[in-house]
Amino acid sequence: MKQTPFTLLENTPLTAEVHQLRLRGDCAAVTAPGQFVQVLVPGQFLRRPFSVCDRSGDTLTLCVRRVGRGTETLCSLPAGATLDLLTGLGNGFTLDHAGGAPLLIGGGSGVGALYGLCRALLAAGKSVTAALCFRSAEQIYYVNQLKALGAAVRVYTEDGGAGTRGRATDALALPHSSLYACGPVAMLAALDGLESGPAQLSLEARMGCGFGACMGCTIETAAGARRVCRDGPVFPGKAVVW
């Protein structure tokens, strides 16, 4: 973990709700895809956790969905703003049990978090399928970005407004050697119930600290109480007691 100032390079709307933020600063603590940062948002007491979508050199990319006061502020910050970040938080995904054809399933604001993972898996020579699941067509983002990396991208919408009408669980029908998923807890729970092969699920929880000190983010797992911020946010399949 590192606490360092970052400069906001770009704040780009991807949809009406989701902004992509590119930030420059010391990224040395960011070591694995699926890790997250804690951002000190002007006007808010607690930091806000966001997955690192990508890291390249001294630049971090975050995708922030506007859902409340903190994210509202972040999405309206101008380029040039300075933000205080805790970086290098959480375990991140491991590529160890990916097999040859990993399937990545992202839901809603969890889609962005799969970008860095996708890049790492492709670099390791895997053939990656990314299933991106949204409520409706207006919420779709990151399809082109993931395609540009070289992944086979499948889009699912609940209302059928774009791509295949369906939900994350429908994507499990795609052939795959392993599953990586990030999205709402109900989606993760449903996937975990159906999937029997190697899986890694990235969870969210309301956090006090984000670095293991407060026990604010604890969940129950088969192995006992675990902190989402420190022992996760990525947990293996069949570990979490939903």
Partner: protein, 311 residues
């Protein structure tokens, strides 16, 4: 410039003490900075058996503060002595405050006895005030008789100084403070969190799964300061003042109100280096207010008739 204070006979390099539940058992912070710069710290509230605590969400936000309903999640006293404290010994070389919790007087005594035997423990901070656990903490700290009963029982069983940590969720905190002093407490720490809640307007239900939780952070500082002030006038034993402290000037205010040492809680969660930075800023802040020796100002805002305080 001199930042030393003495807490129940044990010297501290400075009065800054990260508060229980916001500093774990010290290790996460030791990875970030040398925690030996601190006066001491209070470990997570520890019970006899391991506890999972309350269901999530356990954290909510408020203006200038936060709510928690962690519910005393901890690995239990035996695991703390076997794993956490030995790991801490490698990185922290000062005595700590052991935060003792229990659901019966016997449990308080058993946990306190085990901590008392650890050479790493300097003080027993007996938490009679956690508002999160049904039938536990709140019950003991809410009335002078039960707070005194826990204090007396723990006091009989241990050799180290006993500091009773009080809840602010009472009508007359000074009466409870006096009862603890009369029962043999060597010191008091206050305040624990204020019982509070938030409601999610979209879901139309409380944000915290537990319904209610404890408010802390800068929002509570003036309340905490007022209570330290009142308790200082009611007792002669030393006080650890806490509640919303987030800068060195807050430390000075707490000392002037009557605190001998100062706890820093929620600030550590927002900014993991907060306690270190407060320690570092003490000398320049003392200089700004013309303070040469920090311990000279303890209770310094009280004028008129004052009781003689012990250290």
């Amino acid at each position: 410039m001199n930042t030393n204070v003495t807490l129940c006979g044990i010297p501290l390099d400075n009065p800054v003490i990260p508060a229980s539940g916001t500093f774990g058992y010290g290790l996460e912070f030791a990875a970030l900075y040398d925690i030996n710069c601190l006066g001491s710290f209070a470990c997570k509230g520890t019970t006899e058996a391991p506890r999972f605590g309350n269901p999530g969400p356990r954290i909510a936000e408020s203006a200038a503060g936060m709510l928690n309903s962690v519910g005393l999640q901890n690995p239990g006293i035996d695991a703390v002595l076997a794993h956490e404290l030995p790991a801490l010994a490698k990185v922290f070389h000062k005595p700590i405050l052991a935060n003792v919790c229990g659901f019966s007087i016997d449990e308080y005594v058993r946990v306190a006895e085990k901590f008392d035997a650890s050479p790493q423990v300097g003080w027993l901070e007996v938490n009679v005030s956690c508002p999160n656990v049904h039938g536990g903490g709140m019950g003991f700290g809410a009335a002078p008789e039960s707070a005194a009963a826990v204090t007396a029982a723990v006091k009989r069983a241990v050799k180290k100084p006993v500091i009773v940590k009080l809840t602010p969720n009472v009508t007359d905190i000074a009466a409870i403070a006096r009862a603890c002093e009369d029962a043999g407490a060597d010191g008091l720490s206050l305040i624990n969190t204020l019982l509070a809640m938030r409601i999610d307007p979209a879901a139309r239900r409380p944000v915290l799964a537990n319904g209610t939780g404890g408010l802390s952070g800068p929002a509570v500082f003036p309340v905490a300061l007022r209570m330290v002030w009142q308790v200082y006038e009611a007792v002669r034993i030393p006080i650890i003042g806490m509640g919303g402290v987030s800068c060195a000037a807050d430390v000075i205010e707490m000392l002037l109100a009557g605190a001998t040492a100062v706890g820093v809680g929620a600030a550590n969660l927002r900014d993991p280096c907060a306690a270190r930075d407060i320690v570092a800023a003490l000398p320049e802040t003392m200089a700004r207010y013309g303070i040469e020796t920090l311990s000279d100002i303890i209770g310094g805002a009280h004028h008129g008739e004052r009781r003689h305080h012990r250290m």
